[in-house]
Chain length 81, copies 2
């Protein structure tokens, strides 16, 4: 779950990824970096409430589920303005 230096999108950010489940309530922020010339893997970096940053394995089924759950949980229907 290590993260390399943060030169934006010059190379892959994640050195290792983790498949260990993290409960969404501990997630402060989830960053998805699509694959591209800088990195052949999509990268998913979660910032925890402890300020730790963890790279998640994008192939872990729970990752997809948790992200979909978080996205569907908006209380208010924000209208476009």
């Amino acid at each position: 779950a290590s993260i390399g230096r943060t030169g934006m999108n010059l190379r892959c950010q994640c050195i290792k990824t983790s498949s260990n489940f993290i409960h969404p309530q501990f997630m402060e922020n989830i960053e998805i970096i699509p694959s591209g010339p800088h990195c052949e893997n999509v990268e998913i970096i979660v910032t925890l409430q402890s300020s730790d940053r963890v790279c998640l394995n994008p192939k872990s089924p729970w990752v997809n589920k948790v992200i979909n759950r978080i996205m569907s949980r908006s209380k208010k229907t924000t209208e476009d303005q």
Copy 2:
């Protein structure tokens, strides 16, 4: 598609959200901020290759689809280390 000041998670980051389709190839980074005490909406902030940042409407069906597509597109199966 405006974004407020970037005091991390003290309040909602998005002032307006957009439902206009953006092709994933123009997305450099997608940030998902779960709802919580600071903000009752989940917030999805996309950084474009132009460095512009756009808040997306989490209720837009295309947003969910694009994020799932991006996540499934990892070429290499990163193994946990």
